[in-house]
């Protein structure tokens, strides 16, 4: 059985440049069917991969930036390497995420703070790796929409919902249940990677990343 509790994020949206107020309801599910469980991982690449994205970043105040994002992943080891490059190919940031932590290989100002490295690798992890462990609840709505919930540390949780036809959404909520990050993924999927993704961070600092897949391998 599925029930919803309403959560209006208008107040959060008020803080954000050109991002409208969208009520995003939180969904609570009953126990899921084992047959549906693989659907919770459908939006993430299953094997090793590498990709190039065009990234358009917008921050509060209207600042804009276009960069290349190069990412290489090894899902079985939850390992990711991520680079940010200018259009000329300068590497502004190069870091690797492993189980043991984040190793920054190169970071050029203003991308050289530990907070930036931590935040960026959190975003990359959110986009390309499923949350750790098995979802606590999962299931399918009558229209075929898959909904999966993971509980994280500090009472935070992550929800993945969507279907092949309607697209997919990842919602990260804090312990108060407020959405702190939202990712919208649109197909077609190429080697397990969405053709287009948009990440909106609501707090503490609002920003928006629009990513278009340019290259995927294998």
């Amino acid at each position: 059985m599925i029930r919803r509790k309403g959560l209006d994020i208008c107040l959060l949206g008020f803080l954000i440049l050109s991002i409208g107020c969208v009520p995003i309801s939180e969904t609570t599910l009953g126990p899921g069917s084992p047959d549906d469980l693989p659907g919770c991982y459908a939006i993430f690449p299953a094997g090793p991969w590498e990709s190039v994205h065009r990234i358009e970043a917008t921050i509060r105040g209207g600042g804009s930036s276009s960069l290349f994002g190069v990412t290489k992943g090894e899902p079985s080891e939850r390992r990711l390497q991520s680079l940010l490059l200018t259009p000329e190919g300068f590497i502004l940031f190069d870091a690797e995420r492993r189980e043991s932590g984040i190793a920054v290989r190169k970071a050029v100002a203003p991308f050289d703070s530990p907070a930036f490295a931590r935040g960026l690798m959190e975003d990359v992890t959110l986009l390309f790796l499923p949350p750790q462990g098995k979802p606590t609840t999962w299931g399918k709505e009558t229209d075929g929409t898959m909904i999966c919930n993971w509980e994280g540390p500090d009472d935070s949780h992550t929800e993945i919902r969507g279907s092949t036809g309607s697209g997919w959404r990842i919602l990260c909520r804090d312990k108060q249940g407020e959405v702190i990050k939202e990712v919208v993924l649109k197909g077609p999927f190429v080697n397990g990677l969405a053709s287009r993704m948009e990440l909106r961070a609501f707090k503490p600092a609002p920003y928006r990343l629009r990513m278009t897949l340019l290259q995927a391998f294998p």
Binding site: E56, A57, S64, S65, S66, L67, F68, L83, F90, I91
Partner: protein, 191 residues
């Protein structure tokens, strides 16, 4: 064929090269940039065009897959991104690095390889004739060397190869190069 310091090359070669570049007032060309990274199996390809007018006006524009333009007129540098149907000013990311690159490119198209503050040059008469730019202390952490391959057309650059420590590199191939053609000065002012 050895690489020789410019001063040691037979003066005719080096002098002819400098003379060919001295006659250049403007350059307009398209380019294909190939970015090779160790993390990537295939290079990242970008296409663009540039306009240059002596001595310090440059438009360096990427048309795909990112649309971005750097405009230099004198000491003023502006960078814009084409996003959501409009040109938007770029947030100041790596502006100093890009300023340095623009200054270097401007010097190359004037054949002023010996005026670089950041690089020492070595000339090889070829064929093909090449100028090797060797970075000084500090920059050599990011760039191992730059090779500028010259065309048989006097004063024209065919290709630039930028090698980095660790094996990554960038190749920029120029094509449809027009020398001393006329174009509006607005190309250096507006995206």
């Amino acid at each position: 064929m050895g690489l020789l310091c410019a001063e040691a090359v037979p003066s005719q070669d080096w002098t002819s090269l400098k003379e060919a570049f001295r006659n250049i007032r403007s350059v307009k060309a398209e380019f294909l940039q190939k970015r090779y990274l160790q993390i990537l199996t295939k290079p990242l390809l970008s296409e663009g065009r540039f306009f240059f007018y002596i001595s310090d006006s440059l438009r360096w524009e990427y048309l795909s897959p990112l649309r971005n333009v750097m405009l230099q007129k004198g000491n003023t540098i502006q960078i814009y991104n084409f996003s959501e149907g409009v040109w938007k000013p770029e947030m100041t990311q790596a502006i100093e690095s890009r300023r340095m690159v623009l200054a270097e490119i401007s010097q190359w198209f004037q054949g002023r390889f010996d005026e670089s503050k950041a690089f020492k040059h070595v000339y090889s008469p070829g064929p093909p004739a090449r100028v090797i730019m060797v970075p000084g202390e500090g920059i050599n952490r990011f760039i191992h060397r730059i090779e500028i391959v010259l065309s048989v057309r006097p004063g024209v650059i065919d290709r630039v190869e930028i090698e980095e420590p660790g094996g990554s590199r960038t190749s920029i191939e120029f094509r449809n190069v027009e020398i001393n053609s006329s174009f509006s000065s607005e190309v250096f002012e507006k995206p």
